[in-house]
């Protein structure tokens, strides 16, 4: 990759903005880059990145998945309940949590396939399954969190390996795997081809069924892991986990350069997108912005960032 190409990329302009935001924040707040704040940022970053990557995979295949949050919550609640009530070992619970992801991925995948496959169908179907999943969560928990989570489980989230929080490391590994999948494996390329032009992909031998199923399983596994990471971070498994993931999950990959219509992903761009979102959130707290202004500023900053990216791409 030569520099000229990098300079033209969307990731580059988003990076500039991130650096700019950090510099401004450092100017106002000397301790902005304190290790405390960096670790606070990283912890949020980990979960949101996973959520964004999960959505990115769906977008890549030309679909949308609005049930990410409820899948995450289901995995979190069920693994939590198993550990709390049945004293199931931590590792097994995690595996079962991932299993929930696989299962809901299969459900989503089958229904989406049955309902036609891409775009519309995936949005609607996951809208429906999301409602069902949330219903299930609330029927199981009656709205109560699972608070007796074993320390060993929570420790995974709060521990560090070297200077890096374990959760960040887990997400780092996962996102690298996803990058690898999209760049080097034929499954990844198949997903992209299907996303860009489902008809052509099918005419030339890509199975609609397999693609949709694998996309949804992978996306749901990531969502399930994200849900459990939240539990590790928060210390309890609350039924409201994932309730605010939907918009972030779309915003992060799209800001990061993923093509909304499918077929093109910038895997590490998701991290940039998440950085933008979390830095805004973090900065608003640091600057002590009045509660009534946070929403407004949030909106304005996102528009400014996207406008900047746009201006640069016009110039190029």
């Amino acid at each position: 990759m030569d520099f000229a190409k990098i300079r033209k990329s969307n990731s580059f302009s988003v990076s500039i903005i991130i650096v700019f935001m950090v510099v401004v924040m450092c100017f106002f707040k000397r301790n902005y880059l304190s290790s405390d704040n960096i670790s606070a940022l990283l912890k949020v970053l980990a979960v949101t990145t996973l959520v964004g990557v999960s959505q990115m995979i769906s977008i890549a295949s030309g679909g949308m998945n609005v049930s990410i949050g409820s899948v995450g919550a289901m995995a979190a609640i069920l693994s939590g309940l198993l550990m709390q009530n049945l004293k199931v070992p931590v590792l097994l619970s995690i595996l079962i949590g991932i299993g929930i992801g696989v299962l809901s991925g299969i459900i989503n995948g089958l229904l989406i396939y049955r309902n036609g496959g891409v775009g519309v169908a995936s949005f609607l179907t996951t809208l429906a399954t999301n409602s069902v999943f949330i219903g299930i969560i609330y029927m199981i928990t009656t709205g109560h969190g699972v608070s007796k989570i074993p320390d060993a489980f929570v420790a995974i989230g709060s521990s560090k390996i070297g200077p890096v929080p374990t959760s960040v490391l887990i997400v780092g590994v996962l996102i690298t795997l996803v990058y690898f999948m999209f760049t080097y494996t034929s499954l990844g390329r198949q997903i992209l081809a299907f996303g860009a032009n489902p008809k052509a992909a099918e005419l030339y031998g890509i199975s609609r069924f397999k693609t949709i199923l694998s996309v949804n399983i992978i996306a749901s596994i990531l969502a399930a892991i994200a849900g459990m990471l939240v539990v590790m971070r928060v210390g309890t498994a609350q039924p409201d986990i994932g309730s605010d993931w939907m918009l972030q999950s779309f915003a992060a990959p799209l800001i990061g350069g993923t093509r909304q219509a499918g077929g093109k992903v910038v895997v590490f761009g998701v991290i940039l997108g998440v950085l933008v979102l979390t830095i805004i959130e973090n900065a608003l707290v640091h600057l002590g912005v009045d509660v009534y202004w946070t929403e407004l500023i949030n909106g304005v900053v996102i528009i400014v960032i996207m406008a900047f990216d746009r201006l640069r791409s016009i110039k190029n």
Partner: protein, 327 residues
């Protein structure tokens, strides 16, 4: 049997059949269901669902999404509140101002979507924060509760002891939208832009203008929904619209609007809204835990898909066998 087949073939069967089924079941199993209190309450919930659904539908018909429906609603109602409470304007002027505010917000969204080249989804997302934020900054979160008494009464006005006045507004708005989409040039242009933007341009349609108008109408509808909500609550509330987004998608989709743009069913949202309200009502009347509300709505949505598939399959088979017979 033939009747049932015919019914299944109707475009709206995927919403009408569940409505009839649930209505029938409720009427049989629950004695309170047909009470005038309950009927009134049901009809009272429908209008806002319908109009919010229409607001989303018109943007869906363009092949886009309006995530900011709720925020447009809340900012419009704040304008309404300021006009009526702080400036002492008469009701009609306040309503007009609120609608203008809604149209304006939609207009801004439309202009940004067409002219800025920024991803429409992100624009809508950002405006969602921006409009809501603006409403909060203006009001500091304070509601407006000193509204014109007559206006507040309107939201709970009964006609013939059964129908809330607001449902007539919803019917009127649906009717106007129906005519607009089906019988006016604008409607054809909207659908064309949704189906294939480039082809629309080559058919002499001003794409940008049409998209902007579509968003503006959507904004206006959000404002109308907000005003109805205000009149039902009797106050301007900054949480108005917080719960609209999901509804706005579910209602038109239950009513048969394709999410990919280019095809809509204007009567659909009315029925879709009615179905949603019926489901919610059934859950309380049958004493099902309200936790199941979500699950039920989801299942109905999936069911709508099944019915639709059955319908298409049947029609295809019929057409096929017709060809075979000919031969």
């Amino acid at each position: 049997m033939k009747r049932i087949k015919q019914l299944l073939q109707a475009d709206l069967s995927s919403v009408i059949i569940p409505i009839i089924t649930i209505f029938g079941l409720l009427a049989i199993t629950s004695e309170g269901f047909l009470s005038s209190y309950n009927m009134f309450s049901i009809f009272q919930s429908v209008p806002i669902f319908v109009i919010v659904g229409l607001a989303q539908m018109i943007v869906l018909s363009l092949g886009q999404m309006n995530l900011a429906v709720g925020s447009i609603g809340v900012l419009s109602s704040v304008v309404f509140g300021i006009a009526m409470q702080n400036l002492g304007m008469p009701t009609s002027v306040s309503i007009l101002l609120a609608c203008i505010a809604g149209v304006l917000q939609g207009l801004i969204q439309g202009v940004m979507v067409t002219k800025s080249g920024i991803n429409p989804f992100i624009i809508s997302l950002a405006l969602l924060s921006l409009y809501k934020g603006l409403a909060l900054v203006i009001t500091k979160g304070q509601p407006f509760s000193e509204l014109n008494a007559g206006f507040s009464a309107f939201g709970n006005l009964k006609i013939v002891g059964l129908f809330p006045a607001t449902i007539f507004i919803a019917a009127l708005v649906s009717g106007i939208m129906y005519v607009l989409i089906r019988y006016r040039k604008l409607g054809k242009r909207l659908l064309a832009c949704g189906a294939n933007g480039v082809a629309a341009i080559y058919s002499g349609v001003n794409y940008d203008k049409t998209v902007i108008i579509g968003h503006a109408i959507s904004g206006g509808l959000c404002a109308i929904a907000a005003i109805l909500q205000v009149s039902r609550f009797g106050s301007v509330q900054l949480s108005i619209g917080d719960d609209w987004m999901l509804t706005s998608f579910v209602v038109p989709v239950l009513g048969g609007t394709l999410l990919s743009g280019g095809k809509v069913n204007v009567i659909g949202p009315f029925l879709g809204g009615f179905l949603m309200v019926l489901i919610n009502n059934a859950i309380v009347l049958w004493g099902v835990s309200s936790y199941a509300t979500n699950a039920a709505v989801g299942l109905i949505l999936l069911l709508a898909y099944e019915v639709d598939r059955m319908r298409k399959k049947m029609m295809n088979n019929q057409a096929k066998s017709a060809v075979e017979k000919e031969a």
